[in-house]
Amino acid sequence: MSTVKLDTVRNKWVRILQIIFDKINYTYGGGTAFEQHAIKDISFTVKKGEFIGLIGHTGSGKSTLIQHMNGLLKATRGHIYFNGEDIYEKKYNLRTLRSRVGLVFQYPEHQLFETTVFKDVNFGPKNLGLDKIETDLRTYEALKMVGIEDDMLDASPFELSGGQKRRVAIAGVLAMRPEVLILDEPTAGLDPRGREEILDQIAKLHKESGITVILVTHSMEDVANYVSRLLVMNQGELVFDQPPKEVFSHFRELEKMNLAAPQVTYVMNALKDKGILVPTNATTITEAKEEIIKWLRK
């Protein structure tokens, strides 16, 4: 295990902080005509068990950033610490990092390849080198976590519906029992019910197991309903790192970055402009409803 060269007071923080990004930079194609500085000086920390949202316009660097978290991409400058260890140290085992930080890509159903659902989810834990009983146990556990019925275990993954395939793919990552779960737009391409189901399942998982969750999304409503902290990226830089309510109060600035606040926030602001004095920081429909009812009762 490597030693982090910090003094004892900061050392204590390092142990609570699960992930630390310290001035991370990533440049594509350095030195060629295709050079692109995708990530500029990004620093932030993540505490164990947090549920964080990451939003940003297309091309802002979100996907690039999350690939640094499990070591798939190596920063061209800067340090990353996971559970207190510098992941770029020579002795650090990146494969172990990938089993602790689970990353679910966009349209994860495209990674399915095995002959049965069970075997596909089994792939992850098998790669960890565990014995058969342990891998089968974790596989079954993961499939139950995403709500896949027993009668589907022997079916071919290619016979399932889109939503089911996606849940199997997510189970494939959960079976590794990661400490951190990163999801890149898990609701992309699903109908409203499918989106709600997946997000509710993730929220349930977070509540029951205390797993750290990082949700990359384009939907402000998803963010408002589930996360406790929001990271906003714009053109490779981290511009906001605050609770959702505070971030959305800056909705004019968000608009300049091709983002927006949840629909409900705009509604509340429109009401306020018409003289109906409701607090404008409501970010979910439930909150808005309660504030409007409160005002009506006055």
Binding site: G29, T32, F34, Q67, N70, L72, R95, R98, S99, G102, L103, V104, F105, P108, H110, Q111, L112, F113, F123, G124, N127, L128, F158, G172, V173, M176
Partner: protein, 270 residues
């Protein structure tokens, strides 16, 4: 790493060569390659060199870029040169232990080396100055007469264009799938040949599935836009010969005449 392979890549500038009809370039490249093998004498090769370097100059493709394309075959080149240098029998001019170099060895090594280099440069110039779609258009037009003997020329050309179009897309897909499986602990790097072959399954199966899915979608999209095959199909930008193409044909003829002339002179006077 994949971006470093410049063989076959298009280099966008504006030179006469870029503006020539692809058929002229195809025929020209073919003629050039034949000339490399038919006119093997010293003077013949001097003519070839002059021809090739003038073409390089006209193409406005940077010399460095062309040399990069040779990197891929440098091993083959070294192999050829070394073999010929040390294993050709003849008049010895250098000896050390069991290593012998002969005059003939130096000559053959030089010729084979130069021939291989010119071959690569010549064909590369073709692809540097012609977009892949232009190339397939040219091939389609040249092969058109083959339809009389039931060769599916249009279908072949269409398949080639589509394949070329999808190379970058499939490369990107491979990258995505590889990363997704690595995130699940897949290991594509360690182990012996058998293990590594097996580890490719989680990569190849999803890739094939994806390719079939795209092919299906593309077919439907083409049909939705009334594609019915090659019968009676017209082109938006049909290939026409221009003045510069006819001039190029003349230049080619002149070059070949010069080569034949050199061969005749050598035969009768040297």
């Amino acid at each position: 790493m994949i971006r470093d392979i410049t063989i076959g890549q298009y280099y966008p500038t504006n030179s006469i060569l870029h503006r020539l009809d692809p058929r002229v370039k195809l025929i020209g490249t073919f003629a050039f390659i034949i000339s490399l093998f038919l006119f093997k004498s010293l003077y013949g090769y001097i003519a070839v060199t002059i021809f090739l370097f003038s073409i390089i100059k006209i193409s406005k493709v940077p010399f460095r870029f062309i040399m990069k394309g040779l990197k891929a075959v440098i091993i083959l080149l070294l192999f050829t040169v070394t073999f010929n240098l040390f294993l050709t029998p003849g008049k010895e001019i250098f000896r050390w232990e069991f290593i012998r170099i002969t005059v003939e060895g130096i000559q053959t090594a030089a010729f084979y080396g130069i021939r291989l280099t010119y071959l690569i440069i010549g064909s590369s110039l073709m692809t540097f100055t012609t977009t892949p779609n232009h190339l397939t258009d040219g091939l389609e037009k040249l092969m058109w007469p083959l339809r009389r003997i039931r060769v599916p020329v249009h279908e072949i050309a269409m398949m080639m264009s589509i394949a070329l179009r999808f190379i970058p897309i499939l490369l990107e897909e491979t990258d995505k799938i590889m990363k997704a499986q690595m995130a699940r602990g897949a290991d594509f790097e360690s182990g012996g040949i058998l293990k590594r072959a097996k580890s490719l399954i989680p990569l190849l199966v999803p890739l094939f599935v994806s390719a079939f899915r795209r092919a299906n979608d593309l077919a439907m999209a083409m049909e939705a836009r009334c594609y019915r095959g090659g019968e009676g199909r017209t082109k938006m930008k049909p290939l026409h010969y221009h003045g510069r193409d006819y001039i190029t044909f003349l230049v080619l003829l002149f070059y070949l005449a010069a080569e034949i002339g050199i061969k005749i002179i050598e035969k009768h006077f040297l």
